[in-house]
Symmetry: D2
Amino acid sequence: MNDVADWWQTAIIDMEPGRIELRGTPIQDLIGNLSFAEMIWLMVRGDRPSDAQARLFEAALVSAVDHGPQAPSIAAARMAVTCGLPLNNAMATAVNMLGDIHGGAGEQAVELYHQVKASPLGTEAALDIWTSERGKIIPGFGHRFHSPTDPRAPRLMEMVSEAVANGACEGAFATVGREIEETLARRKGRPIPMNIDGATAVIYAELGFEPPLARGLFCLSRSVGILAHAWEQQQQGGRNKGPTPPKYRWTYTGP
Amino acid sequence: MNDVADWWQTAIIDMEPGRIELRGTPIQDLIGNLSFAEMIWLMVRGDRPSDAQARLFEAALVSAVDHGPQAPSIAAARMAVTCGLPLNNAMATAVNMLGDIHGGAGEQAVELYHQVKASPLGTEAALDIWTSERGKIIPGFGHRFHSPTDPRAPRLMEMVSEAVANGACEGAFATVGREIEETLARRKGRPIPMNIDGATAVIYAELGFEPPLARGLFCLSRSVGILAHAWEQQQQGGRNKGPTPPKYRWTYTGP
Amino acid sequence: MNDVADWWQTAIIDMEPGRIELRGTPIQDLIGNLSFAEMIWLMVRGDRPSDAQARLFEAALVSAVDHGPQAPSIAAARMAVTCGLPLNNAMATAVNMLGDIHGGAGEQAVELYHQVKASPLGTEAALDIWTSERGKIIPGFGHRFHSPTDPRAPRLMEMVSEAVANGACEGAFATVGREIEETLARRKGRPIPMNIDGATAVIYAELGFEPPLARGLFCLSRSVGILAHAWEQQQQGGRNKGPTPPKYRWTYTGP
Amino acid sequence: MNDVADWWQTAIIDMEPGRIELRGTPIQDLIGNLSFAEMIWLMVRGDRPSDAQARLFEAALVSAVDHGPQAPSIAAARMAVTCGLPLNNAMATAVNMLGDIHGGAGEQAVELYHQVKASPLGTEAALDIWTSERGKIIPGFGHRFHSPTDPRAPRLMEMVSEAVANGACEGAFATVGREIEETLARRKGRPIPMNIDGATAVIYAELGFEPPLARGLFCLSRSVGILAHAWEQQQQGGRNKGPTPPKYRWTYTGP
């Protein structure tokens, strides 16, 4: 019997009939006493944030909820609803799309920050090593749409500065982020400003989240916009809506 | 050109380079000023909750985050990670499972409450109509594991009472829920207490959320536990873990 | 121990180290002796088709593989690839979209045929009952794009006639389908011809497949087009491609 | 208008009302004339296989349809059905799980074969390079369950030999596969035989499929077993079935 019960092991939840404990605390003592953001922190890490940490964490979660129906994930949620899917399946379809290219920049930026911070060679050389190993895209900097500035990044960095002043975090990753930004501007001869992924990555790194969690937390955050758009589409109706109006269809390139 | 831009329409987000407005407010004015729970409310509804409404809403979101690796959704997240999926795909796999039976009870309970509340025939007769149309399962009441009481429900209902006292909601759906509970107990000769789906459905109905959103918000809430378990599994390792230890496999029932 | 091994039960597969039997036959005796279509039949039903049945079954599978990037499922597969998803996740994202509206028409048409066939009141009355219970859309007839005729349906019905002549099936559901077509034409004063879902539903019903399998087999068939488009997109490249060219975005309808 | 129509481009399908052409042939000329396996080949590659190529291709597709409810994908399909998901969503949930570890071995094995074949240093050295770059697992060889021999592999390799004799393929990748098998046996002092992924990878490589298609085609093949198991579970019933019988639950490892 033990080998069966041992097959799945977790330090997150303990349970018997009438008792549910999450990270060691009965669920009824969490309900009403923790904010949703604090509960997220508790669940993924096992400890609780200070008020100042929770405030910074919450800012990151709030910032990334939506980027409109042009984003493949949001578009997928809306299309899925017009195919008759209920909200859980529409949300799953959309979250599934948050892959390396659509949802992975935050994770990659945290990795970049750690690599630059740990390098004894300085930011310039560390960036060169990154580029030689991982390609020319520097995750977290520049934005193909929000030019020159992604409005979310400066606001988030302002909150990081406030958090450093409050002692909620040290600021070492904020410094790394700013150094990368300066280096890129110098190299390109024009600003390549930090975008939302770069800024949330600073926050997640400052707060001690491992790189993969930057992606996981982005998925939680974007799930909010996904739900909002799926629900709006459900109210609008529409059946089997493809990406573009039907008359445009696509271009055939075959023989 | 207009027919293309008109193909997708939304009142949720407006955008141009350097500007993102969500529900009419620039994103930089939301970051740091709204809690994550308030942001969820704003995104799916377009207005903002009062403090007392936000407190009640947050309690519902906190209560449903996890029910352990025995739940198909949590198990799926953990199995997906051992198949090599990154967190976005593992989360999607799990959220996809929150279908009518696993994630739909809250939505069905809100529908039930509305139907009972609107019935001129009283709770008894309204329950009979529900059963004749929708089957013998009364969504939101009884729990196959937490017997006699799901510890989340009484705590949530306590918070509803507090919210009624504060004027955050009217209490009409709480009354309906309690009447259903009493009716079921009388009929069965033993308590069939409200469970978490019944209690969160009271909250979502009190706060004016449409039934499908009870499922959507449950998906958001459970996504937290899904992320926590997926991440824990990623740290544990394990390759290609099936549901049970390999030696048990399954029972072959064919010829 | 038995309760664990009994938790999952199947008549499909039996296995021990070095032995795999599918539906009672060692896998090595199936490889090279069954076509892929025959294997599909064996797996979902447990028996083997005659050659004439296999030929008809294969026609249905071949007919539904693709309907272009305007279909939400195919679009989703291509978008998913530009988000960095590997083929398994891109395929899953697309198949997930084959819900009641996008992938359910075949299943609904099989249900309709059974209901009409079983009705003692005749096709006219049976159609009225269907409409009153299930809404005005008659699954399997008419096509918003292929007007007047979906080229796949006449070819499939030609093969059904051939199969009836060969004794591969009886033709009762083909008759039902044609009666519905005639009734609709008479009512509307113009042809509402059978479409691919109506024609494959005739085939699946003739061959004795239950209604849900019409959807399941459509998912298998469409998975072929999904894979082809996902792979083509992977070769084309493209990063984070939304539904329309970026400059069109969407129409904001809020305040 | 052109930029919209050009947004999605494909050489797979051309269409206008009443006309559907796949890879340049009207769909009605494909129905009844191509087997399902030949249609798969045509869709993903654009050309048609010879009879001998089709026979070998079909063997690979048939061989991988199922490995029982212990496989995470099959388990996920069955669990999904007990959560109330229709077949399309259950199939998607399962196919999603065919990630690098569960569904990627075939793709990796094709990469390995190409790398070994292209290496001027010989199989021994090429294997060392693979291990140093990609880790100690040699994809396609050894099986944790089927010991000593996966019964699918020898049968598939027999068919490759037959195909080489028929001129359907050259046999160069079969030779590479056998050399790897011999090298591993010599190094370990015991047989580490080719498994199903190694054998299907030989076939896909011999037939000229790119590595990612080995995964994509495996997803198509396994979708058959996924559908069969999902449908069987739907007929069995069961609500919210977790991985193990409820009484075993899991082991709590927290404080």
